[in-house]
C-alpha cells in the first residue's frame, strides 16, 4: 500500500489543533506554475531552507528580537555559498533543535548532496549560492515585500532553472 505522509506525526496536541485551524483559514487560489523546460540533467538547481541558517561570518538572524516580541520573526534572508560546510554556519531557528543542522548542514540544506547529484549528472549543476530565511514568520509581509524579490533577483542572476524549498 502506498505511503500517505502523516502531517501530524511530529506535532504535539495543541500544535495539531493549531495547524488544522490555519488550514481552515486558507482559501483556494490560483496555483503559480512554471513547467520544467529542460531535463534536470541540463538544469541549474538552487536550494532554499527555512532553517534560519547563516554563515558565521554573516549577520546573525535576530533571535533577541523574537525573544522581545514572541509574535515576531526575522524577515531577512541569507546567502549560503555552494562551498559552505557545516562548520561555516550557524542555525538560528528557535523552534527546532539547531544542533542537528550545525552538526550536518545537509539535514536542513543538502548542499553537498546536490553537488554529488551534479557529479553524477542527475542535475546539470548546483547554483553558486543557496538561500535561507526564518521559517517562523507569523507576519510575512516584510519578507514577501523585501526578501522574496531580492532572492528572486539572485536566482535570476545565477540563471537558476529549478528551486527546491526545504522546510526546517
Amino acid at each position: 500500500m502506498a505511503k500517505i505522509v502523516d502531517s501530524y506525526r511530529f506535532l504535539d496536541g495543541i500544535t495539531k489543533r493549531l495547524i488544522r485551524s490555519w488550514i481552515n483559514l486558507e482559501t483556494p487560489r490560483e496555483i503559480p506554475w512554471t513547467p520544467l523546460a529542460n531535463p534536470l540533467s541540463d538544469c541549474t538547481v538552487a536550494l532554499i531552507s527555512t532553517g534560519g541558517i547563516a554563515l558565521k561570518t554573516d549577520r546573525p538572524f535576530d533571535q533577541e528580537g523574537e525573544r522581545r516580541n514572541p509574535w515576531w520573526g526575522d524577515p531577512s534572508y541569507r546567502i549560503i555559498p555552494k562551498t559552505a560546510k557545516s562548520e561555516d554556519i550557524h542555525v538560528y531557528h528557535m523552534h527546532i533543535d539547531p544542533r542537528l543542522g550545525e552538526q550536518d548542514l545537509n539535514c536542513l540544506l543538502p548542499i553537498e548532496r546536490l553537488e554529488e547529484l551534479a557529479e553524477l549528472r542527475k542535475v546539470g549543476r548546483a547554483a553558486q549560492s543557496h538561500y535561507s530565511f526564518m521559517g517562523y514568520l507569523l507576519d510575512p509581509r516584510e519578507f514577501l515585500e523585501k526578501s522574496i524579490p531580492a532572492i528572486i533577483g539572485h536566482l535570476r542572476a545565477d540563471a537558476v532553472d529549478v528551486v527546491v524549498l526545504v522546510p526546517a
Partner: protein, 110 residues
C-alpha cells in the same frame, strides 16, 4: 523558475496552493535525514527532484516512501521557543494565534 516544496506537514503546505509538493514523514530539524546519513539524504533529494521532473499538473503531490524510525519527540529545541513561554503566562492570547489575529494589527488572516 520551476519549484517544488518538500514538507513534513503536507496538509498545510497543500492548503497554500504550491505548484508541486513532496511530502515526507521526517521530523523537524532533520527533514532531509539524520546527521551523517549521506545515503539517506541523497535518496531524499533524488526522490524530490524525480517528483519535480514527473509532475505535469499544478498542485501535484507525491508522498515520499521514507520511513522514520525514532521517537516522535526526538530532537527538541534546547529551550522552548519564545512564543511557547509567552503563551504559558498569557494563555488567553492563544485564540489570537489560532486565528492569526496578531497583536498590533500585524497581518495574519487572509
Amino acid at each position: 523558475m520551476t519549484t517544488i516544496a518538500l514538507s513534513n506537514v503536507p496538509d498545510l503546505t497543500m492548503a497554500v496552493s504550491v505548484p508541486r509538493l513532496a511530502g515526507i514523514e521526517h521530523p523537524f530539524g532533520q527533514i532531509m535525514g539524520r546527521p551523517g546519513d549521506r545515503d539517506g539524504q541523497r535518496a531524499v533529494l533524488t526522490a524530490v527532484l524525480e517528483a519535480l521532473e514527473e509532475m505535469k499538473v499544478p498542485g501535484s503531490i507525491r508522498h515520499l516512501p521514507f520511513e522514520w524510525t525514532g521517537p516522535e519527540k526526538e530532537a527538541q529545541p534546547p529551550e522552548p521557543p519564545p512564543l511557547v513561554g509567552y503563551l504559558k503566562w498569557h494563555p488567553w492570547e492563544l485564540p489570537r494565534l489560532f486565528s492569526r489575529d496578531l497583536p498590533g494589527g500585524q497581518a495574519g488572516k487572509r
